[in-house]
Subunit: 133 residues, 2 copies
DNA sequence: AGTGGGTACTTACTAATAGTTAGCGCCTTG
DNA sequence: CAAGGCGCTAACTATTAGTAAGTACCCACT
């Protein structure tokens, strides 16, 4: 029973039904990564964030922020003023996640050239293989 | 002109058309994260990986591996034997990416309880707010 | 005084993407 | 001699992401 309890309790992202899988998907989601990385540098208002993160729609930004808020990563501070003002910032938990995805974002930017070089050699080899049939 | 050159050259994941955006999406993709993290521990054959990563379909695993291979993260070694044997492993570049997503995966597993606690208090507050209308 | 714009969203619809099922050729195992 | 494993791919469907418009309120400009 200790065994079967452990099967349920020990989180493992490789298990399809493990809650950790969903959490990981939230933080690594297309817009989640960019939101967390942006909020690591400072807090943002909704439409500031929308301008900061190129290509995000209002719908997806709202949805992403709601998911991250529910998971306890993001704090939403809605000031009851007109025009509406809503500030988004990281919680301590969110900051931990954000540091990791921020690192990933910066790493990616540094390695763009390497990846592009890898792609041309991959495509070249594929073309050569196709030609020699 | 140095200025406009820089605008094109300096990678920034927040710019919609920046190549770094796509690369980041590949490594943070639903299955990409899990594939990279798994391959950090050892190399795997195709169907070994499929069994290791719960819930991945053959189609998505093949697609993910092809994307990661083209980006230079994963090395594919197809031995011309029967039955077919294909080994997947990380390149040095892929190892750098994998270390980061591995950290994220382990962090997520450690924080599951915190996230679940955050969710109940979020849902509670929502329910209380809805009740007091 | 009316038009356009900004605030933070939600809703309805459509396009893109992910997942499901079946198939391939070849071989080993029961 | 059928069943299953190997590493895929192709066709089809379900789910999800993206687009466009609407909401309600206010300010600045003409």
């Amino acid at each position: 029973m200790a065994v079967s309890d452990d099967l349920v309790r020990v989180p493992d992202v490789n298990r399809e039904m493990c809650p950790s899988r969903l959490i990981l998907e939230h933080v690594t989601s297309r817009w989640g990564v960019l939101v967390l990385a942006a909020l690591l540098e400072r807090s943002y208002r909704f439409s500031e964030l929308r301008r900061e993160i190129g290509g995000v729609s209002e719908k997806m930004l709202a949805q992403t922020l709601q998911t991250l808020e529910r998971d306890g990563f993001v704090h939403r501070d809605a000031k009851p003023v007109i025009p509406p003002r809503v500030d988004y910032s990281l919680t301590p938990l969110g900051k931990e996640a954000a540091e990791q995805v921020w690192g990933l974002a910066r790493w990616t930017e540094r390695r763009v050239a390497d990846v592009e070089a890898a792609r041309v050699s991959y495509d070249d080899e594929k073309a050569r293989a196709a030609a020699s049939l």
